[in-house]
């Protein structure tokens, strides 16, 4: 027994208070996750209507828009990486960063330069630590993103995409495609890091041909199809980013809940183990005391017997 009972008691105590903290975090994450899911559901009608409107315009007018045209010979790509602001969420941030790194490698393999944009403090810290340039980072909202943030990110990325290569003295970086890496929320148990290309837009979402009932009516566009498209597409992009942020928020909370649950379980195990060892040490101490007393009594008895 290397340590005394007292020291084991201290360890048990500290593990217990740690367990209280992780348990509290687990409960907080669990309650927030419901809210995050509700937010994601509340945002769904907007995305759905917007998608409908975009496909209506795209079907009935042959307008080419800057956001949908594939640039010839793309040389530069931007990647938006959606990570969390806080840690203690298991492998959440690191797995999305890993996915992003894979994408970076792939794009570099295709001969493209890569500009990084991050959302969430963890992503920013990761690249800062490795001294890699991040063009812009947004932080402070990862577990409850608002639409305003998504609009801001969207505006920045669209500006970068639309920027002209020749105009080199402007601050806006010119890129030919924009990718987003975020964590898709599949269920409470599984979240998977996903990379999608955001720009140039591919408007046709579903692959199957629409059946007759889904055929879109012949819209009148006001003021004109191209102008409607002009204001429609940036909003579409922003809503896609908002969707990614909401999914990421729900995933982050689910990952945190899972991580904190296993931390609580581990603390339980540890407490059990320490209690066993502490009890063993306590018993050993008692045994030793008894044998000391017995030994003492015997010695005393022997001494008395010898003197008589």
């Amino acid at each position: 027994m290397a340590l005394s009972v007292r020291e084991y008691r201290a360890r048990i105590k500290s593990t217990e208070s740690m367990k209280k903290i992780t348990r509290a975090m687990e409960l907080i994450a669990a309650s927030r996750i419901i809210k995050a899911q509700q937010r994601a559901q509340a945002a769904a009608p907007y995305a759905r209507e917007l998608t409908r409107a975009v496909s209506a315009v795209a079907t009935f007018s042959n307008v080419d828009h800057a956001l949908t045209t594939e640039p010839e010979d793309p040389k530069k790509a931007a990647i938006l990486i959606v990570t969390s602001d806080r840690g203690l969420a298991g492998a959440y941030s690191s797995s999305v960063i890993k996915e992003a790194e894979r994408l970076v490698e792939k794009l570099k393999g295709e001969g493209k330069e890569v500009d990084l944009y991050t959302s969430g403090r963890k992503g920013e810290a990761y690249f800062k630590f490795r001294q890699r340039a991040v063009v812009q980072a947004w932080t402070g909202f990862s577990d409850q993103p608002t639409y305003d943030v998504a609009a801001d990110i969207g505006a920045t990325l669209i500006a970068a995409f639309l920027a002209d290569g020749e105009d080199s003295d402007s601050d806006v970086r010119d890129v030919d495609e924009v990718h987003v890496v975020y964590t898709r929320f599949r269920s409470m148990l599984s979240q998977e890091p996903t990379a999608v290309r955001l720009l140039p837009l591919e408007v046709v979402e579903g692959t199957e041909a629409p059946d007759k009932a889904d055929l879109l009516p012949l819209y009148e566009f006001e003021p004109s199809p191209s102008e409607v498209l002009d204001s429609l597409l940036p909003r579409y992009v922003q809503s896609r980013i908002f969707f990614a942020l909401l999914q990421a928020a729900a995933s982050e909370l689910a990952a945190r809940q899972k991580a904190m649950k296993s931390a609580t379980d581990n603390a339980d195990e540890l407490i059990k183990k320490y209690k066993r060892i502490a009890n063993q040490a306590r018993q050993a101490g008692i045994t030793q005391e008894i044998s000391e007393i017995v030994g003492g009594v015997n010695a005393l008895a022997d001494a008395q017997a010898g003197s008589e």
């Binding site: 639409y147 879109l216 009516p217 102008e227 409607v228 204001s231």
Partner: protein, 135 residues
């Protein structure tokens, strides 16, 4: 007849970026597009139009009228379904009139030349108008 009744009312959805603000049946919708106000009655031709910061009036099938302030967005009409999409939308009873007035003051002070400031002015004005019209 079910078919007849759906011919006479509009199925309206007012959707903001982060929530569904209102959905239900209505007999008339008025919104402000970039070209001017449009009034939409049942059996309107399919329409897709940009709307600007302003007030949306809706007469519900129950005969009530409600007013909402919206930001720039879209209105789409097809098959008696009207969807109004806007990044932000507020029903008149959700608007804090005092706050809207303060926002208007602040936006006006911020400068008239700036595009963003003018947008903020229009937004605040729309909210105040929505409350005033509702009361």
């Amino acid at each position: 007849m079910a078919g007849l009744s759906t011919d006479k009312v509009l199925q309206v959805e007012l959707v903001a970026a982060d929530r569904l603000v209102w959905s239900g049946q209505a007999t008339m919708v008025i919104a402000r597009t970039t070209e001017g106000d449009v009034g939409i009655l049942p059996n309107h031709a399919p329409l897709l139009s940009s709307i600007i910061e302003g007030v949306v009036d809706v007469q519900t099938a129950e005969g009530e009228t409600w007013v909402a302030a919206v930001d720039a967005g879209f209105i789409s009409v097809a098959d008696n379904r009207v969807s109004i999409l806007s990044e932000r939308a507020e029903m008149s009873h959700e608007i804090d009139l005092e706050k809207a007035r303060q926002d208007l003051e602040r936006a006006k002070e911020a400068g008239e030349n700036d595009d963003a400031a003018q947008e903020a002015v229009r937004r605040a004005e729309a909210r105040i108008r929505a409350v005033e019209r509702a009361s």
